[in-house]
Amino acid sequence: MDLLNNLGVGFHTALTFQNLLYAFFGAVLGTLIGVLPGLGPVATIAMLLPSIYTLDATPALIMLAGIYYGAQYGGSTTAILINVPGESSSVVTAIDGYQMARQGRAGPALAAAGLGSFFAGCVGTVIIAAFAEPMTVLARQFGAAEYFSLMVLGLVGAVVLASGSLIKAIAMIVLGILLGQINTDVDSGVARFSFDMPELTDGIGFVVVAMGVFGFGEIIANLGQPAEHREVFTKDVKGLWPTREDFKEAWPSVVRGTALGAILGVLPGGGALLASFASYTLEKKAVRNPRIPFGKGAIQGVAGPESANNAGAQTSFIPMLTLGIPPNAVMALMIGAMTIKGIQPGPQVMTSNPELFWGLIASMWIGNLMLIVLNLPLIGIWIKLLTVPYRFLFPAIVIFCCIGTYSVNNSPFDVYLTAACALLGYVFYKLNCEPAPLLLGFILGPLMEEHLRRALRLARGDWSTFVTRPLSAGLLIAAALMIVLVMLPSIKNKREEAFQEEG
């Protein structure tokens, strides 16, 4: 069995002391930032990117991956205990989870979230391992035209999921791609849009954009809001173990959530966030007569979405690892991390760096195992963290983000650019423009241009090459379909409803 062989290689890599240590570090850090509201995996991974210069590629990626799925575990704790989503993907968990905590059932809620996530994480890991190879084979048939179309599909997918106006989200993507055009043209060596500043001829680092727009933009937005009153149910967390009835009710939701999350994670633009929303909607439809109604503390409303977001977080690695195409902002940063370590992301990673590839996959399972231990028996430590006021937290975030951006190139100029991006991030926040599509466009932009120009040159300037090559045409049709679907009135309303519940 090839799969078993490959997993063997993976576990052999992942179980070395160094890699275990970094997986653990990633999981702890992920839980930490998941628990703390106002600091997400995007900002954290961006912050840590400079530090991976000193690490080997495998432990670096293992650590970064741990942060992403660790945040899915930690986010639910905050959602359940203080009704504030620690992480955007645990927004729906707060609905029923917080109600359960108010009824003194915080323990079972946390256990359902943790065990559901663990189950989903295990399944997700197996799915990645099983699908990675066929996807890589498919990817080998891709030419420049297909890659371009695939990126179009990915960007459209990201737009469909952005809340709010579709056209604004598309504009944000284009704006992101344009910001990525500030660089030196690969073909001709011409410096573009650099305003004669030598620092700009290398392009703006995506750490700068990510940190400015997400990290600092979020801090400013948070501080602009009046301090909320937080009620923490710390004393009520007794009796972690769910009752037999809880188990009976929760496990079908866990299975449904895992299946749904695994599918949605693979889609371009998908990942943890969409998965949890979709799963909550599914649970409300699937459970006809819940013992406790949804919104009043139904355990299904916690188990389903929590499993889904973890499954989605895992399977969103598939397009990143096999095609080199990031389905969401976190994966875009992972690609950045690989590039820093000199690995060209894409289908060849599996053959050129098998230890990295399978080691990362194996480490996900190990990481999930660590997380369940970290999050259930040690829950008390994380609860303590929630009592730290924001006025201590945000200076720390500011400092870490600053050091992060500075140390990428040891350049004060990057820090000034980040300050400008922070301003921009706040403008976007105020204007209701989603920043996630911007970052995706920014990262994919240079790749898109390269493939577009190569495809056109190969086709001797014939634009129809994108629709006459069957694979490319299929991808473009899929992208067009997605836009049409979202614009259909019935779905448009549903989509708005789904995002309304968020507020």
Binding site: V174, S188, F394, C402, A419, R457
Partner: protein, 154 residues
């Protein structure tokens, strides 16, 4: 003409202006043709596209009614200016003053962004963060960041 949605109006205008600027700026570079696209080919097309999208958002903002005029709302000037300034100060100070002096400065400055400002809290944060950052970044991750002030000619 009445603005029906303020947020859309300003975002549309932003997209329009930036799009035109990029399209105009890319005329400085060789455009090429579709068989041999030059460095100006892709950005010009995108600039035009962004301007068109911006125009559409703008048009919508002026014609379609939205709830309550969709106002932009109060701008949090204090956190905005303080945080942006703190980041800029960090960039300017770190290469000259080193980590040990820059961090307390930036912590104190950024603490001004919050609603409450207590000297005691700022002091605690400064000490904890400076020592923590030293341990994590300089000692642990071995980043090449100056720790103490750099004296010119010294």
């Amino acid at each position: 003409m009445k603005i029906k949605s303020q947020r859309d109006f300003w975002s549309g205008l932003l997209f329009l202006v930036v799009g035109v600027m990029f399209a105009w700026g890319s005329t400085d570079y060789s455009f090429g043709n579709s068989a041999r696209p030059g460095p100006g080919y892709f950005p010009f097309g995108l600039g035009v596209l962004l301007a068109l999208l911006g125009g559409a958002v703008l048009f919508k903002a002026l014609t379609l009614e939205s709830e309550g005029g969709d106002p932009i709302g109060r701008i949090a000037w204090r956190p905005l200016l303080v945080i942006v300034a703190a980041v800029a100060v960090f960039g300017a100070a770190l290469p000259r003053l080193g980590l040990a002096c820059t961090l307390p400065l930036v912590v104190a400055l950024s603490a001004l962004a919050g609603d409450e400002f207590h000297w005691r809290d700022v002091l605690i944060s400064s000490v904890v963060l400076t020592v923590g950052s030293w341990a994590l970044f300089i000692w642990g991750l071995k980043l090449t960041v100056p720790l103490w002030p750099v004296y010119f000619g010294g």
